[in-house]
Amino acid sequence: MSGVGPERNRGISLAEPLLFERGSAGRVGIDVPPLDRVEREVEPVPAELCRDDLESLPELSEPEVLRHFLRLSQWNFSAATNFYPLGSCTMKYNPVLDEQVARLPGFARLHPAVPDAFAQGALGLMAELERMLAEVSGMDAISLQPAAGAQGELTGMKMIRAYHAERGDPRRTVLIPESAHGTNPASSALCGYQVVPVPSGREGMIDPAAVAKLADERVAAIMITNPNTLGLFEKDIVRITEIVHAKGAQVYLDGANLNALLGVAKPGHMGADVLQFNLHKTFSTPHGGGGPGAGPVGVRQHLADYLPTPRVVRTEHAWTRSDAAPKSIGRVHGFFGNFGMLVRAYAYILALGGDGLERATALAILNANYLRHHLEDAFELPYREPCLHECVFSDRRLEPFGVRTLDVAKRLLDYGFYAPTIYFPLVVSGAMMIEPTESESRETLDEFIAAMHTIVAEAREDAERLKAAPHLTRVSRLDEVRAARHPVLRWRPRSESA
C-alpha cells in the first residue's frame, strides 16, 4: 500500500453546492409529454384551490441532478467502503444480491391493495419469513409490520398493555436497566408507562436481587437488552425473567443485539414474552443513512392474539390477509410494514441458512473478542466479563493527556475508519462501543487495532493534533453548539434569509 498512516488517504473530494444554489429558471430533469386533447378539455381543479408556484424547488437538468448526488455520495463513509465499527448498529455486509431481488418487478411494482390472489408470492414470502424468525428466536408468532426497532418496541409494549388490560389488571410501570437504549424508555412512555430504572450491577449485568426488589404488582414489564449494550450476556437472564413472571409482569426483550445470539441462545428460552427483531441489523438490510429498517415483533403464544393486523394466514389453497383478530392492538403501519426490507432479509436468511446464521454469530463474537483482547492494553475496559458481539472501552487512560473519546473518534476518520458508537451506554464514562460484526476480515481488524494504538501514541506525543482531528476530511470538526443554538433547518434565498 502506498504511503503509511492516515496520509495515504489524502486526496480529492469534489465540492458541490446545494441543489438550490444551482440551476436556471425553466430547467427541468423530467419531460412531461404534452396534454392530450381530452385532458385539455376537462374541467381542471379550481384555481382557488391551487398553489401559485413551486418556486423553491430546484430547476436542474437530469445530468446536473445526477452529478450532484454522485458527488455527495462520495462524501460519506459507509459500511460498504469502510470498516464501520459502530456499536449497537451491527454494520455487517449488505449483500448486493438482496438489492437486486428487492427490485424484481413482481415485488417492486406490486400495489399493496391488490387482491390476495395477485400477491401470493409476496404473502408467501412474508409467511416464510415469519416462520424463519420464529425459528431463530424461539418465539411462537411474528408480525412483520413494525417499520423499525423502536416501532417494534412500541408494538410490543402496546401488546403487553392490552394483555394486562384484558386481564383487568392495568399496570403502571416498566423496569428498564440504566444501560438500555433510549428507545426503550421512550417506547414505554408512549404506552403511558412510568419508567423505573434498574441499576447496572457491578459486572455490568443486571443483578437479579435488584430486580426482585423493584418488581411489584404495579410492574407491567421489564425491558431487557440481551446481550446488553455493554456486549455482555445477561447471565442471570432466566432467573430475572422468572422473578418478573412471578409478579405477573411480562418480559420485553430488545432484540437489537440478536446478532450475538443466533445458535447461542434463543430469547424464547430465556423467558422473553415479546421481542423485536432489527432486520437492518441482524438480517443485513442496509441502513440507508438512517433507514428504512424493519422491526418485526415476535411473541409467545399467550400474546399472539394481540399482534397487529392484518395477519398473513393460510386458507386451504392460498395465502390471505386477515383482519379477524378482535384482541389485536390494531395497525401500526399504513400497510404491512417495510415490505422491501422483508424481501432483503428473507434473501439473506436463505443465503446463509441455519448453519450460516450460526457461523455468522460465532464469527461476530470472535471478531469482538479479538478486538477487545488486542485493545485492552491501550484502552481501559471498564467491564471485564467475556463479551459477545461488541465491547465497550472508556477514555479514562487518555485523561492525563487531555484527550477524550471524541478525539479518538475523530482521529479514526483520518485513518479511513468510521468511529465506534461514543458516549453510549451512559453507564461507562467516555464510552467507545465497538461492534466489528462478522463481515470484517482479520486483516481489517489488525489495521484498526494498529490505528487505535497509534492514536494512543499520538495522544501522548501530540495531543493538540489529535484534538484538532479530523485533518483529512472535507470538513473539519463542525460546530454543533452553534447549530443547536441557531438551527438553520432549510435553505432560503439570500434575500429571505438575510
Binding site: V38, S73, Q120, A150, G182, T183, F335, D355, H373, P386
Partner: protein
C-alpha cells in the same frame, strides 16, 4: 460462505492469538441449558443463483398488472425515474448509518438538508424533519405532538375521510396513553368534512387538533380555510394529512391556508409501490413548534475553519438524549426513502412537479367522465378531487370482481371500510395510465 471472510485457518489463528481454542469457548459463559437448545433448524445456505432463483419464482407469483391496476387508497403508481435508483443504489448512501460522525457523512447530511427544504416548500411551512416511517405513523406523531402543544385538551378530531388505516394507526398509538381519545368526524355529501358535524364535535370538551385529509382518502380536496377557521376558533391545531404527495404539486400549500402541522406520505416521490413499503412519512410544522417536533433534524453550521457543513441538531428532543421524555421514540427512520424523494423532487423540480400533478388531475377527470359515459358510473362526491375519486355503480363489487377476471383492478371497493358506500369503488388514475388503459377499465366495468 461468500459473505464471511474467515477461513478456518483465520479462525484458528485468531483464537490462538486471544488465548482460546474453539469458537465455543467464547460463549461458554452463556448458560448451558440455553446453548443446548439454540440450534437453528433451517435449510442449508444457498449459493447466489439459488437465492435468485427462489426469489424470482416468488416474485413471479405476484401479478402487479401495473397499467391496469387502478388502485390508489394510500399508495400511488407513478413512474420512478432511473436516476432515483442510481442514486439510492450508491453504496455510500445505502450502507451508511445515521450520520453520527458528520465529517464523514456530509453526503447524507446535505441531502437531508435539501429534503427538509423541499418538504417545507411543498407544505408551505417553516420546518420539516428528516422523515417518519410512513404517512400513517406521521399522522399519529402529529396527533401526539398536538397533544403536547395542547396539554389541556383530551380529544382529537379525525376526519372520517382520512384513510382508514391512518385512523387505525392513530388509535393504536393513542391507546393507553392517558386521557386522550380520537373521535371521528363524518363527511358531508360533497365528500368534505361535514361542517355541522364538526361544529357539534368542537362544542364539547377541549380539542387538541382537527386532523383532515388533503386530499382525503376519497381524493377530495378539503376546504382548508374553513376547517382552519373553526380550529382556530376552538384553539385547536389544524393538522393536514396528505396521503398522495403528488397532490402538493398542484394544491395550495397547507401552511398557507391554516395548517399548523402538515404530514403526508412521500411514496409518490420516486419510491414505487413495493407492496406497501418502505414508504416515507413527511412531517412539517411551524418554526415556533420545532422543539415539540418528533424526528431527526439537520442544521447548517460551520466547521472550525469556517466552511459550511451540516449536522444533526436539536437532539435534546430525541430518545437517545431525552429517553422517556423524548418527543417520540423514533430512531431509525426512512433515510434512504427521503433521499429518493430528494432526487425525485430535484428532477421534477419547479416545472415538472406542477406539470405532472396537473396531468394526474386531468387524466383522473377524463377517466371519471369516461366511466360515467361508458360504464354508467356516478361520482359519489361533488367536491373537487385530485387523482382519485369514488364512483357509485350498481352491483359495484360484482363488477369489480368481473374486472379482475380480465386483469383489470378497478380500484378498491369502499364497502369494507365504509358500509354506507357498499356500492362504491375508489379509483386512482395517474400519469402511468394511458388513455387506452382507461378504456380497458371502462370496458371491464361496463354492465
Amino acid at each position: 460462505m461468500r459473505y464471511l471472510p474467515h477461513t478456518d485457518a483465520d479462525v484458528q489463528s485468531m483464537l490462538r492469538s486471544i488465548g482460546h481454542e474453539a469458537l465455543g469457548d467464547l460463549v461458554a459463559h452463556v448458560p448451558a441449558d440455553l446453548r443446548r437448545r439454540a440450534a437453528i433448524e433451517l435449510e442449508a445456505g444457498r449459493s447466489e443463483p439459488e437465492v435468485l432463483e427462489r426469489l424470482t419464482a416468488l416474485a413471479s407469483e405476484n401479478r402487479p398488472l401495473e397499467k391496469t391496476c387502478f388502485a390508489g387508497a394510500g399508495a400511488y403508481p407513478h413512474h420512478v425515474p432511473a436516476a432515483v435508483d442510481t442514486v439510492i443504489s450508491r453504496s455510500e448512501f445505502a450502507t451508511a448509518y445515521t450520520p453520527y460522525q458528520p465529517e464523514v457523512s456530509q453526503g447524507t447530511l446535505q441531502a437531508i438538508f435539501e429534503f427538509q427544504t423541499m418538504v417545507t416548500a411543498l407544505f408551505g411551512l417553516e420546518v420539516a424533519n428528516a422523515s417518519m416511517y410512513d404517512g400513517a405513523s406521521a399522522t399519529a406523531e402529529a396527533v401526539l405532538m398536538a397533544r403536547r402543544l395542547r396539554p389541556k385538551a383530551g380529544r382529537v378530531l379525525l376526519a372520517a375521510s382520512l384513510p382508514p388505516a391512518y385512523r387505525q394507526v392513530v388509535r393504536t398509538y393513542l391507546e393507553g396513553i392517558g386521557d386522550f381519545v380520537a373521535e371521528d368526524v363524518s363527511f358531508g355529501p360533497d365528500g368534505r368534512v361535514d361542517s355541522a358535524a364538526l361544529d357539534r364535535a368542537l362544542a364539547g370538551a377541549p380539542v387538541a387538533a382537527i386532523v383532515v385529509g388533503y386530499p382525503s382518502y376519497f381524493g377530495v380536496i378539503e376546504d382548508l380555510r374553513a376547517v382552519g377557521e373553526r380550529a382556530r376558533g376552538a384553539d385547536a391545531l389544524l393538522v393536514t394529512v396528505t396521503p398522495e404527495g403528488m397532490a402538493l404539486g398542484l394544491l395550495r400549500e397547507p401552511g398557507a391556508v391554516g395548517a399548523d402541522i402538515a404530514v403526508g406520505e412521500g411514496q409518490s416521490f420516486g419510491l414505487g409501490l413495493s407492496f406497501g413499503g418502505p414508504y416515507l412519512g413527511l412531517f412539517a410544522t411551524r418554526e415556533r413548534f420545532v422543539r415539540s417536533m418528533p424526528g431527526r433534524l439537520v442544521s447548517e453550521t460551520i466547521d472550525d475553519r469556517g466552511r459550511r457543513g451540516f449536522v444533526l441538531t436539536l437532539a435534546t428532543r430525541e430518545q437517545h438524549i431525552r429517553r422517556e421524555r423524548a418527543t417520540s421514540n423514533i430512531c431509525t427512520n426512512q433515510g434512504l426513502c427521503a433521499l429518493a424523494a430528494t432526487v425525485y423532487l430535484a428532477l421534477a423540480g419547479r416545472t415538472g412537479l406542477r406539470a405532472l400533478a396537473d396531468r394526474n388531475a386531468r387524466r383522473a377527470r377524463h377517466a371519471l367522465r369516461r366511466l360515467c359515459d361508458g360504464a354508467g358510473a356516478q361520482p359519489v362526491f361533488a367536491a373537487p378531487f385530485f387523482n382519485e375519486f369514488a364512483i357509485r355503480l350498481p352491483a359495484a363489487r360484482r363488477r369489480w370482481e368481473r374486472a379482475l377476471a380480465v386483469d383489470v383492478i378497478a380500484g378498491v371497493p369502499l364497502g369494507d371500510a365504509y358500509p354506507e358506500l357498499e356500492d362504491a369503488l375508489l379509483l386512482c388514475v395517474t400519469e402511468v395510465h394511458a388513455l387506452s388503459d382507461i378504456e380497458r377499465l371502462v370496458e371491464a366495468l361496463r354492465p
